[in-house]
């Protein structure tokens, strides 16, 4: 993102912070695709994408006035997305402890045709083998976040981010086995 784009984004964020509905809508439209991608990478289910993406943007609107640096909006938004997905996974885990379903009802598979390419299916499968924190890390990198930004999001050092990223990539490659498509 160049400096003029950064300035335009900061301006849009400021307008949204003042409560301008058009600016808020513009922010949602601009980021809905990327947030949906992030959520899907984290959760791996079609049926959760819209609900969780909606939760992320509702939190965004409610917390926007607490964002001190509008220029850091993207990092802040993806931190919200990460926390929302991790909370969702935690709640699911707790629900499984207190309300265990029969094994056949526990992980209902996605319907046939839910994933439209073998490559994507392979990636989804590989991501599912990783820890949620590592999935978030890979998805943030894919989102174009720098190591320094990720370190801020994860509240850790840049060196730790690099090390974890290296491990996560290795693990992803280990599990990522697409059947060749033309």
């Amino acid at each position: 993102m160049d400096s003029s784009e950064t300035t335009a984004l900061a301006d849009l964020v400021r307008r949204a912070q003042r409560g301008e509905e058009n600016a808020q809508r513009e922010l949602i439209v601009s980021y809905q695709r990327r947030v949906a991608g992030f959520v899907y990478a984290m959760i791996g289910r079609n049926d959760a994408v819209e609900d969780l993406a909606q939760q992320v943007f509702i939190k965004m609107i409610r917390a926007l006035d607490r964002l001190q640096a509008p220029a850091q909006f993207e990092s802040w938004l993806f931190r919200l997305a990460r926390n929302t997905c991790i909370d969702h996974l935690r709640r699911q885990k707790l629900r499984r402890i207190f309300l265990p379903f029969a094994p056949e009802h526990e992980d209902v598979p996605e319907p046939t045709g839910a994933v439209d390419s073998e490559e994507l299916d392979a990636l989804r499968h590989a991501l599912a083998q990783l820890r949620p924190q590592d999935r978030a890390l890979l998805a943030l990198v894919q989102e174009g976040r720098s190591h320094a930004e990720i370190a801020v999001v994860l509240k850790t050092s840049v060196a730790a981010v690099k090390a974890r990223l290296h491990r996560a990539r290795e693990e992803l490659r280990e599990h990522y086995q697409p059947t060749h498509e033309s």
Binding site: Q32, R34, A36, F38, L123, L172
Partner: protein, 92 residues
């Protein structure tokens, strides 16, 4: 683009396709509705404090009533014993 990057790009396309039309408008409506319905922190705190105070008063009253009842029955018993012993002393 390497196969992995291509898969990530497909993942984003696939995820975006899960959002139904009018997504942004629905988010805005839900955010406004939630903001109106959601109680404020002060409201929640006041409700919590009032509930705690009410519980405290109820427990204190119940305890006072129970202790008071026990004390009066003990006092009545002692009065009976005292009266009986006075009668016994007078009889001697």
């Amino acid at each position: 683009m390497n196969p992995e990057d291509r898969a990530w790009s497909r993942l984003q396309n696939h995820a975006a396709a899960q959002l139904s039309p009018g997504f942004a408008q629905r988010v805005l409506v839900a955010a406004r509705a939630g903001a109106k319905a959601a109680p404020s922190f002060l409201g929640q705190f006041t409700l919590g404090a009032a509930t705690a105070a009410l519980c405290f008063v109820a427990v204190t009253l119940f305890q006072a009533q129970r202790t008071g009842g026990d004390e009066s029955s003990t006092l009545a018993d002692w009065q009976k014993i005292t009266a009986a012993s006075q009668e016994a002393e007078l009889g001697q």
